[in-house]
C-alpha cells in the first residue's frame, strides 16, 4: 500500500519509544500497514494516552490471549487505527499469571469499556480502575473463576451452574420507574434487555444487559475448526452480513500468511460485499419504518430488496450465507454471463430506491419523528469509537473501504457520505445515499471485472505466530477480525469485533432525556445486530454436531484437494480434544 505515510510510522515509533520510558520490549512491523509494540503493562496506559491525544488513534478492540503455552504469560493487546495514515497499531502487554491485573484504559477511551470487561470475563485479566466492572458476556449463573477462552478450558466443558445469582442491574434514580425493553420486544427482534429509567414519558437514564445469545464462536475457531472451516462459521456470525465476516476472516489469515489473492477474486468479493450492503440497507430502512409504525415503508423496501436476494441466489446458490469465501480467494466464480442480468436488476432497484428517497425526504411526519432525535454528538461518537453510518452521520468521516482499502476498493473507491447533525434523520440520509453509491460501485466493479483465477494456490502450511488484522466496512460499520496464527492448522487466537459492539455503547448517551417513544427508533437507527455482537461465551454444544478432523485426516484432504483445502466430505467425529 503506497499511501502509508512513512513519516507517520517514524513519528509513532519515536513517540511510543519515548512514552514507554524504557519499558518497550519490542517494536516490529509485521506488515507494511501494521506496527506492533510490546510494552510492559505498567507503561501501557501512558502509551495509549499518547496515541489517543497526539495521534488521534481510534481504538478498535482489545484482544486477551492466553499465551501461557507460548510465553508463559497472558497477553492483552489493544488494537488502534490511524485512519488518515492507513495504519494499524497493536499495543501488547504480557500479564503474568501471578498478577492478573492491568490498568484500565476506559477512563481515556470510553469506547474500551466492553472490550476490557470482555477480556476479564474470557481469560480473567482484571482491568484495574474500570468504572463499571460488572460482568459483560458471561451468563449470570456462570461460576466465578472459570474463564472460557483460556487454553486449558475445553470447548465442550460445561461448568456447574452457580447458585443464587441475580443479574447485576443498576437501580433507577429516586423518583424514576423502570420500563423494561426486552429481552423480547417487538421493535427489536433480538435478545437485548434495556432497563429504561423513566419519569413520566422522559428517559432519565438506562441500564442494559446483553449477551444472552453467545455461541462460543471464537472458542470453536481456536480449538475445534481449521483455517478453511472457519470461513463457514464466520459467515454464520451474522444472518445479514455473513459474507462480510467470512471475507474479513479470510483477509486476516491471508494477510498473516502473506497470501496474494487473485485480482478477479478481489473484485468478486467487492461485488458481493456491496450487494450485501444494498440488501442490508433496504432491510434496515424497512425495519426503521416499522419501528415508527410506517408499515408501508417496510413492505415496499422489502419488496424492492427481494430481487437483490434472488440475484445473490443466482450467483452463489443461496439467498444468504453464500459459502463462497475461502482462505486465498473464492470457491465459486461469478459467471460472466450473469453480468447483464445483474445490471438490469440493479437498474430496477436503483429506480425504486430513488423513488423511496424522494418519498422519505418529502414526508413531514417522518421528519418530525427523526429530526433532533437520538442525537449522537461528534465528540461522543469519537470517544465511544462509533463506526459506520452512525459515525458518518455525526460527522466522523471514517470508512474502512477508504481508510484501510481491501478487496478491490483501492481500484474502485467509494464516495463516502457524511452528515453533521448526528440525529436519526442524518443516519437515514447517510444510509440511503450509501445505497445508491453501492449500486454505482457494483456497476463499476462489474465493468472492470478482470479475468483470471479466483483462488490463490497455497503451497505451504500457514506458519504459526503471525498476526493479521483485517477490516471490512459492513453495512453497520467496520468489522474487525484479528488472527494470531497457530499450529495444528488453526488460529491460535481469532478475535471478531462486529460494528454493533462499539455502536451499542453509544446508546445510553443517545437516549438520555429522550421521550420514551423515541427510544426504539434511536436504537433502531444504529441498525444493531446482536447476533454479530454476541459470539464469545462457550455454551453447551452437542459434540456430535461438531465435526472434528484429525491433523492427519486434514493433511490427507488438503493433499487430495490440492489447490484449496476446503474439505468437501465429512469425517465422523473423532473425539474431544
Amino acid at each position: 500500500m503506497s499511501s502509508i505515510s512513512h513519516s507517520a510510522v517514524t513519528r509513532v515509533k519515536e513517540a511510543v519509544a519515548a512514552r514507554s520510558n524504557g519499558a518497550l520490549l519490542s517494536a516490529t512491523e509485521p506488515h507494511a500497514d501494521t506496527l506492533q509494540f510490546t510494552i510492559e503493562k505498567t507503561r501501557l496506559r501512558a502509551v495509549v494516552e499518547c496515541l489517543v491525544n497526539d495521534f488521534q488513534a481510534r481504538f478498535m478492540i482489545s484482544v486477551g490471549t492466553d499465551a501461557r503455552p507460548l510465553t508463559g504469560d497472558f497477553t492483552i493487546l489493544h488494537l488502534f487505527s490511524l485512519d488518515r495514515e492507513h495504519l494499524y497499531i497493536l499495543l501488547e502487554s504480557p500479564v503474568s499469571e501471578k498478577d492478573l491485573r492491568i490498568e484500565s484504559i476506559t477512563e481515556i477511551i470510553p469506547g474500551a469499556n466492553w472490550a476490557e470487561r470482555e477480556f476479564r470475563d474470557a481469560i480473567g485479566v482484571h482491568p484495574d480502575g474500570h468504572p463499571d466492572p460488572r460482568r459483560l458476556l458471561l451468563a449470570d449463573d456462570w461460576p466465578e473463576g472459570v474463564y472460557p477462552l483460556r487454553k486449558d478450558f475445553p470447548y465442550n466443558y460445561q461448568p456447574p451452574r452457580a447458585e443464587n445469582v441475580a443479574p447485576q442491574l443498576r437501580e433507577p434514580p429516586a423518583g424514576a420507574s423502570v420500563v423494561p425493553m426486552g429481552p423480547f420486544f417487538p421493535a427489536l427482534e433480538e435478545p437485548s434487555y434495556w432497563r429504561l429509567f423513566v419519569e413520566g414519558e422522559t428517559v432519565v437514564g438506562c441500564d442494559t444487559r446483553l449477551f444472552y445469545n453467545h455461541r462460543g464462536i471464537e472458542k470453536l475457531g481456536d480449538s475445534v475448526l481449521t483455517y478453511n472451516e472457519i470461513p463457514y462459521l464466520a459467515e454464520r456470525i451474522c444472518g445479514i452480513c455473513g459474507f462480510i465476516h467470512s471475507t474479513c476472516y479470510c483477509q486476516a489469515v491471508e494477510k498473516a500468511a502473506g497470501i496474494d489473492v487473485p485480482r478477479r477474486a478481489r473484485y468478486i468479493r467487492t461485488i458481493m460485499l456491496e450487494l450485501e450492503r444494498i440488501h442490508s440497507h433496504l432491510l434496515w430502512l424497512g425495519i426503521a419504518g416499522h419501528i415508527i409504525g410506517f408499515e408501508t415503508v417496510l413492505m415496499q423496501t422489502w419488496r424492492i430488496r427481494e430481487p437483490v436476494m434472488w440475484l445473490c441466489e443466482e450467483i452463489s446458490g443461496n439467498r444468504k450465507t453464500y459459502g463462497m469465501n475461502t482462505v486465498g480467494g473464492l470457491r465459486r466464480d461469478l459467471p460472466n454471463q450473469l453480468k447483464p442480468k445483474l445490471l438490469e436488476t440493479l437498474a430496477g432497484v436503483e429506480k425504486e430506491v430513488v423513488a423511496v428517497r424522494k418519498a422519505i425526504i418529502g414526508d413531514t411526519t417522518l421528519h418530525a419523528r427523526t429530526r433532533g432525535v437520538g442525537v449522537l454528538t461528534n465528540e461522543w461518537a469519537r470517544k465511544t469509537c462509533v463506526v459506520g453510518p452512525p459515525a458518518r452521520a455525526s460527522g466522523v468521516a471514517i470508512d474502512a473501504r477508504i481508510d484501510h482499502p481491501y478487496a478491490a476498493y483501492d481500484e474502485v473507491p467509494p464516495q463516502i457520505a457524511t452528515q453533521a447533525p448526528g440525529d436519526t434523520w442524518a443516519r437515514v440520509i447517510v444510509r440511503v445515499t450509501e445505497l445508491l453509491e453501492s449500486i454505482r460501485l457494483v456497476r463499476e466493479a462489474l465493468s472492470a471485472l478482470p479475468d483470471g483465477s479466483i483462488c490463490a494456490e497455497i503451497k505451504q502450511e500457514i506458519p504459526p505466530g503471525r498476526v493479521g488484522v483485517s477490516v471490512v466496512e459492513a453495512p453497520r460499520g467496520e468489522a474487525v477480525h484479528f488472527v494470531l496464527t497457530g499450529g495444528d492448522n488453526r488460529p491460535y487466537r481469532w478475535r471478531v469485533r462486529a460494528p454493533t459492539y462499539p455502536n451499542l455503547q453509544a446508546m445510553p448517551a443517545m437516549v438520555a432525556n429522550a421521550n420514551i417513544a423515541d427510544v426504539p427508533i434511536t436504537l433502531g437507527s444504529l441498525d444493531p445486530c446482536f447476533s454479530c455482537t454476541e459470539r464469545l461465551e462457550t455454551i453447551d454444544r452437542r459434540t456430535n454436531q461438531v465435526r472434528v478432523y484429525s491433523h492427519a485426516e486434514l493433511l490427507e484432504i488438503s493433499k487430495r484437494k490440492g489447490r484449496n483445502a476446503a474439505p468437501q466430505q465429512t469425517v465422523p467425529h473423532g473425539g474431544v480434544r
Binding site: 420507574s177 423502570v178 420500563v179 423494561p180 420486544f185 417487538p186 421493535a187 414519558e201 419504518g289 416499522h290 419501528i291 415508527i292 409504525g293 410506517f294 408499515e295 408501508t296 415503508v297 413492505m299 415496499q300 419488496r303 414526508d363 411526519t365 417522518l366 418530525a368 419523528r369 421521550n515 420514551i516 417513544a517 423515541d518 427510544v519 426504539p520
Partner: protein
C-alpha cells in the same frame, strides 16, 4: 304509544345489531386496502369475524382480579352499543329522544375511559403508559368533537343530533359546518386509534399499550368495541355534517349514507397507511392547532355563514 315503543325498541335493536355486525366487515375492507397499498395480498375481508370468533373461544386469562376489572370489556362494548343507539345511522336515532349531543359526547368518551381503567388496572408499566397516553389523546380530541357539534347546535338551534342532521339536510352546505366536519373527521382518526395517532397502543414502543394484558374473549370485546366505535362515529360524521344528497326515498338515502361512510373509512385508512406514528407531544400539539382552527367554524356560525 305501545307501537311507538315497540318500533323504537326494534329500531334500537336494528341499529345496535347493524353496528355490531358491520364493523368487522368494515375493518376487513380497511385491512384489504392497507394490504393493497403495501403491495400485499392481505387477509380475506371476512378475517375480522374469524378473529373475533377465535378470540372468544379462548381461555379467559386475567392479570389481576376484581369484579370491575372482569367486567370492563363488556362494559366498554356496551357503552359503544349505547352510542350506536343514540346516533342516527341511516334512520332516526333510536334513542334520540333520550339524549342530546352532550349525552352523545359523554357516551363516546366512556369507552375510552373504560379502556383506560382496564389499562391502569392491569398492572403493567406498558399498559399504564398506554392509558396515560389514551387520556391525553382523549383530552385533546374531545374539545374538537364538542366544538364541531356545537357549531351544528348553534346553527340548527337544537341540541339533538337528529335535529341538527335534519336542519343540515334542508339548508345545504355552509362554511362553518364544512370546517366543523373536517375537524370532526380529523378527530375521528385519533378516536379510531389509527396512525399517526395509534399512540396509546404503539406496538413497537409499548407493545400494545393499554391492551397489552388483554387476551382471549376480553381482547375480542375490546377490539370489537374499537371497530364498532369507529363505524358509529363515521355514521355520525356523515349524518350530521354531510347528509346530502337527501332524496327522501329511503333505500336510496340509506345506500348513499353507506357509501359515504365507506368513503370516510377509506380516507381514514389511507391516512393511516401513509403516515408514521407521531409522538404523544406532537399529536397533542397537532390537535391543539386543529381545536383552535375549529373555533373559526363557531365564528362563521355566529355571522351566519
Amino acid at each position: 304509544m305501545t307501537t311507538w315503543l315497540i318500533r323504537t325498541f326494534l329500531l334500537g335493536l336494528l341499529n345496535v345489531a347493524a353496528a355490531l355486525l358491520l364493523s368487522p366487515l368494515c375493518e376487513g375492507i380497511m385491512r384489504k386496502l392497507r394490504a393493497a397499498i403495501h403491495s400485499r395480498m392481505g387477509p380475506p375481508i371476512t378475517q375480522p369475524y374469524w378473529d373475533i370468533l377465535k378470540l372468544l373461544g379462548k381461555e379467559d386469562l386475567r392479570s389481576t382480579g376484581g369484579a370491575v376489572y372482569a367486567g370492563l370489556p363488556a362494559l366498554t362494548l356496551g357503552s359503544v352499543l349505547l352510542l350506536a343507539a343514540l346516533v342516527p345511522m341511516g334512520t332516526r336515532a333510536p334513542l334520540g329522544f333520550a339524549g342530546d349531543l352532550i349525552v352523545v359526547l359523554y357516551v363516546a368518551a366512556m369507552s375510552s375511559v373504560l379502556m383506560m381503567l382496564a389499562g391502569f388496572a392491569s398492572a403493567s408499566p406498558y399498559a399504564s403508559i398506554g392509558s396515560s397516553r389514551e387520556m391525553i389523546m382523549l383530552l385533546s380530541v374531545e374539545p374538537i368533537m364538542a366544538i364541531a357539534l356545537a357549531v351544528g347546535a348553534f346553527k340548527a338551534r337544537t341540541l339533538t343530533l337528529g335535529g341538527i342532521a335534519n336542519w343540515q339536510a334542508q339548508n345545504g352546505p355552509s362554511i362553518s359546518m364544512a370546517i366543523g366536519g373536517v375537524a370532526f373527521f380529523l378527530a375521528l382518526q385519533a378516536v379510531a386509534g389509527k396512525l399517526p395517532f395509534d399512540i396509546a397502543e404503539a406496538d413497537q414502543e409499548i407493545m400494545g399499550g393499554l391492551l397489552i394484558e388483554q387476551s382471549g374473549p376480553r381482547l375480542a370485546l375490546f377490539r370489537w368495541a374499537i371497530w364498532t366505535k369507529q363505524l358509529v362515529l363515521a355514521f355520525l360524521l356523515v349524518e350530521v355534517f354531510f347528509p346530502w344528497p337527501h332524496y327522501g326515498i329511503y333505500p336510496v338515502d340509506l345506500l348513499a349514507t353507506l357509501v359515504k361512510v365507506l368513503v370516510v373509512l377509506v380516507l381514514v385508512t389511507v391516512i393511516d397507511v401513509v403516515n408514521p406514528r407521531l409522538r404523544i407531544d406532537q399529536a397533542m400539539g397537532y390537535y391543539m392547532r386543529v381545536a383552535v382552527s375549529s373555533l373559526a367554524a363557531l365564528a362563521f356560525a355566529v355571522i351566519g355563514k
